[in-house]
């Protein structure tokens, strides 16, 4: 068990270093940060001076090691654009993205799972068919279109909800939350809906197909033959086994959502990390871009590590055999 955890940690560290090095090399091709930072009238001498100051004229090897060395201690440098420590900027925006991601994931779970269960159990009803169509729409529509559509209906036409921003937020230490104010909650609704729509349809389809498969298995037949009620069979046994792949997918989705809520954040001007990343790309703010990628790598690595450890804890066979099945776990009684 310890060996397993240690080996996983080592692998994660290797992944992180690889991400950092690749990120570093990528950033040499995104444009000149000095040109982006200075006005059109800035002289060439001033630009060169700035370049040297930023260490952009140093040999490549030196730059790589400086980048890695600083990254290990959590120092991502000073943002070119805002001239503030990058770590400070990311921490400022983290609560907005996390709140949005978690609420959208909860929405996807709360709506997707019941929908999936219903359409698996009552396959031939009209409501089930409606769910199928809705899920098809949800998967096909790009998030920015959904977002703009929602803004148009709820903000412009009806005037019920704000079209952008996070509303008023309350500071609790270094965390800022929108949950405690009415405007904060209102501002959260549309972006969470937009972000959650795709996840919801994914979950719904997954739950439906998993349930259908499970309901066909032998042990479910035998359970019914034994006289157990439908409720016990469906929810006590079938759903429980369906939930394991659902957890996998949700965990991975959560990672994606946190990392890539960029489009939704841009459409709703949501002050999160994704929007900050897009701004950094446009203004060639390399320190912010690098920090963001490293952090995204870290999130994915952590989530995958936790998922692996979770399987190890959940599935007794893994502990016995000491082999790990990385993706979907087998079903068991």
């Amino acid at each position: 068990m310890i060996a397993f955890v240690l080996s996983r940690l080592l692998q994660s560290a290797v992944v992180m270093v690889a991400v950092a090095v690749i990120a570093f090399f990528l950033f040499r091709y995104v444009g000149d940060p000095v040109l982006a930072m200075t006005g059109q009238e800035t002289s060439r001498e001033d630009q060169e001076r700035l370049r040297t100051q930023l260490g952009l004229n140093d040999p490549l090897v030196v730059q790589v090691f400086r980048f890695l060395g600083r990254g290990v201690s959590g120092d991502f440098g000073i943002s070119y654009r805002q001239r503030r420590p990058v770590t400070e900027m990311l921490v400022e925006r983290l609560p907005a993205t996390l709140e949005l991601s978690v609420v959208s994931a909860l929405f996807a779970l709360a709506v997707g799972i019941p929908m999936g269960v219903y359409s698996a159990l009552r396959r031939d009803t009209w409501l089930s068919r409606v769910f199928q169509v809705v899920s098809l729409i949800g998967i096909s529509l790009p998030p920015f279109l959904v977002g703009i559509l929602l803004i148009f209906v709820f903000a412009v036409l009806l005037g019920w909800l704000p079209s952008s921003g996070r509303g008023e937020v309350v500071s609790l230490g270094w965390w800022t939350t929108g949950f405690l104010t009415l405007s904060g909650l209102q501002a959260l609704l549309l972006p969470a809906l937009t972000l959650g729509l795709y996840q919801m349809t994914l979950l719904m389809r997954l739950v439906r197909s998993e349930m259908l498969e499970v309901l066909r298995t032998d042990y479910v037949k035998f359970a019914r033959a034994r006289g157990l009620t439908d409720r016990t069979v469906h929810f006590g046994h079938a759903l429980r086994n369906t939930l394991v792949p659902v957890i996998t997918v949700t965990a991975l989705q959560l990672g994606s959502v946190i990392a890539f809520a960029v489009i939704t954040e841009t459409v709703f001007q949501w002050p999160g990390m994704g929007y900050q990343f897009i701004q950094a790309v446009a203004s060639v703010d390399v320190p912010v871009m690098a920090a963001y990628l490293v952090m995204v790598g870290f999130i994915f690595v952590t989530i995958n590590l936790s998922a692996d450890l979770l399987y190890y804890g959940v599935d007794p066979r893994l502990r016995l055999e000491r082999t790990v099945i990385g993706g979907q776990a087998d079903r068991g009684a």
Binding site: L35, M37, E41, R83, R84, P85, S183
Partner: protein, 528 residues
């Protein structure tokens, strides 16, 4: 059992969501009287010397002021200086306005002006170009200074409009006497806080989220506005910004995307204001290399032949671009400067005619009867409909036989490429900060200048520009300017296209002044 819990949770969430939504329709937003406005980007910093960026400096003009400022018709008028006289060709005596206080109460004196000059010239300051003509400032007394320039500077006043005066004691107190060098760990206090003499004070600043200004009751000028609190939020996504205006959450926003102008002007309660902008969009050609870097022609540079340049010019149907690409929001031009820039000469503003046959003939005469291939560098997120303009030009050149490979990319990469002169044919836009012809030409046309990417060199034009720089007599200066522009126009090293048109959106009950340099001043805003 689980299902019941699940259903309860589901129902609970649904009711919560509905309550929140419905309450929204009943409750109006907090600070209902605050003036809310939005732009597609944010001011980069609250430190006026950090970044020479147009929007940042425009925004800061509400908080800080210079010795002079621009009035409603873009004319130069007194601000922190009340009058000025030239005592010698290189010495200007300025009388400073008495009784002016900074937002923290400290009085404004000549020492602040001298401090501001030193700080503007500090190594990491990005506003050096504004004060590069000033050699030194001599204090005569607390309200009188002599500005000594580096030789005669007829457009000194134009150059210093955006050079804001800073309070010496406040900047010293907060350890930012010199503009902070990038890479230092200390945060610049002045980046998030401000202390100026302007009509508004900075109440709070959250970069990229929201900046709040409040009225300065001690302002020295008579307030024409009726704003007590102003809240600025950048909204990058065009559709969202338009939605914000249409849903009445914003009182004003700019720019209005061209395709939404009709829609916004038709909506009741909001209006669109349009007027010409001073930015000129033009195409540049590499006229110096012996062989173009990115074309199919080997051993020769087609752009060195004036006939080819004229052929390109006459192949462009500027009217079609004006109507179809710019939706009417442009002013076709033949010069690198437009109305509103000192030196503009309407007599010279006649384009060579659009003539496809003439263009083909010229190309054949020059030895390219079947045209040739060339790469065209274009930004796709810098100017209004820039990529669309380039695509239109590409199609028009195809008609005369020139096959253009369009390379449209984000501005960070585009400017990096053309600044390095790594191009044969490119698009660029220019607004001279001082609104004077000399500045445009000294950056784009003089031999060897920074943005003279095509390498154009005409010694006669250089000589004229040298004289324009120091000619004090306005009429003589205009004559020299017209001559230089005529020569450049005839040489066609660049193909001017048009000046953009500004489009601002606002609620119908908001009165404001739209200046041709796209600067939005709160001090003229009245909400009825």
């Amino acid at each position: 059992m689980r299902r019941r819990i699940g259903t309860h949770i589901g129902r609970g969430l649904l009711s919560l969501a509905m309550t929140v939504v419905l309450l929204g329709s009943a409750v109006t937003s907090v600070d209902a009287k605050a003036f809310r406005w939005s732009f597609q980007g944010d001011a980069l910093t609250m430190d006026p010397y950090h970044n020479n960026e147009t929007m940042t400096l425009d925004f800061l003009s509400n908080i800080y002021e210079g010795l002079v400022r621009r009035g409603k018709s873009m004319e130069i008028e007194p601000a922190l200086a009340t009058e000025w006289t030239t005592r010698a060709p290189d010495t200007w005596r300025f009388k400073l306005r008495p009784g002016v206080k900074f937002h923290d109460g400290t009085p404004f004196t000549a020492d602040d002006v001298i401090f501001s000059l030193e700080r503007a010239k500090s190594e990491a300051s990005d506003v050096k170009p504004f004060v590069q003509g000033i050699k030194t400032i001599r204090k005569i007394d607390d309200v009188t200074i002599d500005i000594v320039t580096d030789g005669p500077r007829p457009i000194l006043l134009n150059s210093i409009v955006r050079w804001y005066i800073l309070p010496k004691s406040w900047f010293e107190k907060h350890n930012t006497v010199k503009v902070h060098k990038l890479g230092t760990a200390e945060t610049n206090y002045a980046a998030l806080h401000a202390n100026g003499t302007g009509p508004f004070m900075l109440k709070s600043r959250q970069p990229d989220v929201q900046t709040v200004l409040v009225q300065n009751p001690q302002w020295w000028d008579k307030a024409e506005h009726n704003i007590t609190e102003a809240i600025f939020r950048p909204i990058k996504a065009d559709a969202t910004r338009v939605a914000g205006l249409l849903s009445a959450e914003l009182d004003m926003m700019y720019p209005v995307p061209l395709q939404d102008i009709t829609r916004v002007s038709r909506t009741t309660g909001v209006k669109v204001m349009q007027s010409p902008e001073v930015r000129t969009i033009f195409l540049g050609l590499d006229v110096s290399r012996d062989q173009l870097l990115y074309s199919s022609v080997k051993g020769a540079n087609p752009f060195k032949d004036r006939r080819v340049r004229l052929a390109f010019y006459q192949a462009i149907d500027i009217k079609a671009i004006h109507e179809k690409v710019m939706f009417g929001a442009s002013r076709p031009t033949a010069l690198l400067i437009g109305p509103g820039i000192t030196g503009f000469d309407v007599k010279l503003d006649q384009r060579f005619p659009y003539d496809v046959e003439a263009s083909k003939r010229l190309l054949a005469e020059a030895g390219y009867p079947n045209g040739f291939e060339v790469t065209f560098d274009c930004p796709n997120d810098r100017y209004v409909n820039d990529e669309a303009i380039c695509q239109a030009v590409t199609a028009m050149l195809a008609r005369v036989g020139v096959k253009v490979r369009l390379n449209a990319q984000t501005k960070a990469k585009h400017f990096q490429k053309i600044r390095a002169k790594d191009t044969s044919f490119y698009l660029l836009g220019w607004t001279p900060a001082s609104l004077d012809m000399h500045e445009t030409f000294s950056y784009i046309v003089t031999t060897g200048s920074e943005w003279n990417i095509g390498g154009y060199s005409n010694p006669k034009v250089d000589e004229l520009l040298g004289r324009i720089a120091v000619e004090i007599n306005a009429n003589n200066r205009q004559a020299l300017i017209s001559e230089a522009m005529k020569l450049t126009k005839e040489d066609i090293p660049q193909l001017p296209l048009h000046q953009q048109t500004l489009a601002w959106g606002a609620k119908s009950n908001v009165d404001l002044v739209q200046l041709a340099d796209n600067s939005f001043a709160l001090r003229w805003v009245r909400v009825k």
